[in-house]
């Protein structure tokens, strides 16, 4: 309703705002976005290795995976809980086809062969899952994708031939080329930042391309879309394919970051973390998942110390995340991004989340 109010205000100067309400109103136009972009670029000068990788690297990686959920849920209206599973599948494939400490399993292919194969297989995996999920709507989509996630977790736990059971695959090799160790802190940070930026701008761009517009049309009125000649289910499956590719990129970075992957990395709680990240950040804008990931990573990293300091059990940090989740969903169904937008529109100062934009690349 506030959008409409705003629209009336803008009506007199309608040439000034030729873009539609959803998808855009990009952060690009905002000076804070430029500050964040510059900060992210010079981050290695400011932050030490721990912050660079454990905080910002993790934020960007989880942000990429949550971005794939934002794309599906925000533009397509499909809540998929298997995006982390797709990412984990890509990670496993990098470990299986590439070089690792488990020589009995890994095929030892060079990274430039193992990585594309992993991306293709994970995209295929996500597309097949999507093809199953699009036969359902709403809560059943959530159930099916959750079932795929849970099935994959138990499968990796019990399969020793490929996934090496509950121990997983360790000491996964990371790429070295042009004389650079791409897993060294600074190169890895920039690699992650570049891929996150690519995914972010790709999703932003797609939202106004025919495919993205049609996806939003499918979300709002599938029956009308069919009456315009669109094959609604084909469009949905294609969206799953695209989201799977984005999630797979995040999964490859994740396995390179940790050098290992095990069933714990694809557990059901991890799948739900991605949902929490996307919802807390906001699923209406591509920047939301990165903001959500930043909040999540900060809590995950520092809540433990904080809890211990005030005399509570540090292992309860998930309680803090849960309460935060509850508070944000209660106050703003479109996450921090929505909260921020309402704040700005109500005429208050813009700088409400000084570090909130820390994630968007």
């Amino acid at each position: 309703m506030s959008l409409i109010e705003r629209a009336h205000l803008d009506a007199d100067i309608r040439t000034a705002e030729p873009r539609p309400a959803f998808a855009v109103l990009s952060v690009n136009e905002h000076p804070a976005a430029w500050i964040v972009a510059v900060l992210l670029l010079i981050m290695p000068l400011i932050a030490n290795g721990f912050f660079l990788i454990e905080i910002f690297g993790q934020t960007l990686i989880l942000g990429i995976i949550a971005l794939s959920l934002m794309f599906l849920a925000g533009y397509g209206g499909m809540v998929s809980l298997m995006q982390l599973t797709v990412a984990g599948f890509a990670g496993y494939m990098v470990a299986v086809f590439g070089v690792s400490g488990n020589a009995n399993i890994s095929l030892g292919w060079p990274w430039w062969l193992a990585m594309p194969v992993a991306l293709v297989l994970a995209t295929l995996f996500g597309t097949l899952g999507g093809a199953l999920a699009v036969r359902t709507e709403g809560i059943y989509t959530i159930m099916i994708t959750l079932a795929i996630g849970a099935a994959f977790f138990y499968f990796t736990n019990q399969n020793w031939a490929i996934f090496n059971g509950h121990t997983g695959i360790n000491t996964v090799a990371t790429p070295h080329f042009w004389g650079i160790d791409w897993r060294a802190d600074i190169p890895f940070y920039y690699l992650t930042l570049a891929i996150a930026a690519l995914c972010y701008f790709a999703v932003l761009y797609l939202s106004r391309a025919p495919f993205g517009l049609a996806l939003q049309g499918v979300r709002d009125n599938p029956r009308r879309m069919a009456a315009l000649g669109f094959n609604v289910n084909a469009h949905r499956v294609a969206a799953y394919a695209l989201a799977a590719f984005i999630a797979a990129l995040g999964g490859v970075l994740q396995v390179w970051d940790y050098h290992q992957i095990s069933p714990g990395s694809v557990a059901v709680e991890r799948c739900i973390d991605i949902l929490i990240i996307a919802v807390v950040g906001g699923i209406t804008r591509p920047v939301g998942p990165f903001i959500g990931a930043f909040i999540f990573v900060m809590l995950r990293t520092f809540a433990l110390d904080f809890l211990v300091k005030i005399g509570l059990d540090g292992n309860r940090f998930r309680l803090l995340i849960g309460i935060g989740f509850l508070v944000i969903v209660f106050w703003s169904s479109d996450g921090v991004v929505g909260l921020y937008e309402r704040w700005r529109r109500s005429g208050k100062p813009a700088a409400t989340h000084p570090r909130g934009g820390g994630g968007h690349g």
């Binding site: 391309a209 025919p210 495919f211 517009l213 049609a214 939003q216 049309g217 029956r223 009308r224 009456a227």
Partner: protein
């Protein structure tokens, strides 16, 4: 009408739309019973009938929104009975909705642009349209045709009801329509807007046929050359507008207190 007869001979037996014994059940309720209709290419026909006569169900069966329980539907000679809606649309069938079914968060231009994409090969394009995009130009021409150029950059949610009805028609005109189903296009329009609607309908190229559901006889009978009267899910009468208008049974049923 001579025009219809001429076309009949010119096109041989290939009707634009041919329904044979179409029945649609909702549980035990028959919304349509044994409906047989033939519409020639370029023909303009009104479907009249009181509420619950089965007019909109007829449209839904033709477009494939609901498959018929029995019977066959041919579109330009092709049996489309088992086709999903989008396959029928791509063959030149179009429809509008009684209650506007638009994309309120999008600009007028994007609504029409989407409609143009839907019936082209650009449906899955990952590239944004460029300034000289063919489909975007097509969209702009359509917006002009329905007199909405002045608001083409407005969001649909900002449009007046009458403008939304005009946009409904623009969406149905995208691509190369051969037969359009208009579901009460005049609903809720002012007299001035009705005149505009009549002008839009009568200025459509003659190869585009349509079937129109319309309660307003002044609109309906001015834009069609044949009339089908429905009652309780059955075809009750078919004929020329004048015949139907003066038919005592029709007047009994519909014109005189036919509205339940």
């Amino acid at each position: 009408m001579d025009r219809v007869a001429d076309r009949l001979s010119a096109f041989g037996s290939t009707a634009a739309l041919e329904l044979r014994g179409v029945t649609r059940m909702f549980g035990a309720l028959a919304a349509l019973t044994d409906v047989t209709i033939t519409v020639q290419p370029g023909e303009r026909r009104a479907v009249l009938g009181s509420n619950g006569a089965g007019k909109t169900t007829l449209f839904n069966c033709v477009t494939g929104d609901f498959p018929p329980s029995s019977g066959t539907i041919r579109f330009f000679g092709e049996d489309v009975t088992g086709f999903p809606p989008h396959e029928r649309i791509r063959r030149g069938l179009r429809r509008t909705y009684q209650i506007s079914a638009l994309f309120p968060g999008l600009m007028v231009r994007d609504n029409v642009y989407l409609a143009c994409c839907g019936v082209s090969r650009g449906r899955f394009s990952l590239l944004r349209p460029r300034a000289n995009d063919v489909l975007m130009h097509a969209a702009e021409r359509l917006i002009e045709a329905v007199h909405l150029s002045a608001v083409s950059e407005r969001r649909v949610s900002e449009l007046a009801h009458g403008q939304q009805r005009q946009l409904e028609i623009a969406l149905a005109l995208a691509g190369a329509p051969r037969l359009i189903l208009f579901d009460e296009p005049a609903a809720g329009l002012s007299p001035a807007e009705r005149r505009e609607l009549i002008e839009i309908l009568t200025s459509l190229p003659s190869h585009i046929g349509y079937i129109i559901i319309e309660h307003d006889m002044d609109v309906a009978l001015r834009v069609v050359e044949s009339v089908t009267m429905m009652h309780n899910g059955r075809i009750f009468k078919e004929g020329l507008p004048q015949e139907i208008e003066s038919d005592p049974e029709v007047q009994e049923l519909y014109l005189g207190g036919g509205h339940e």
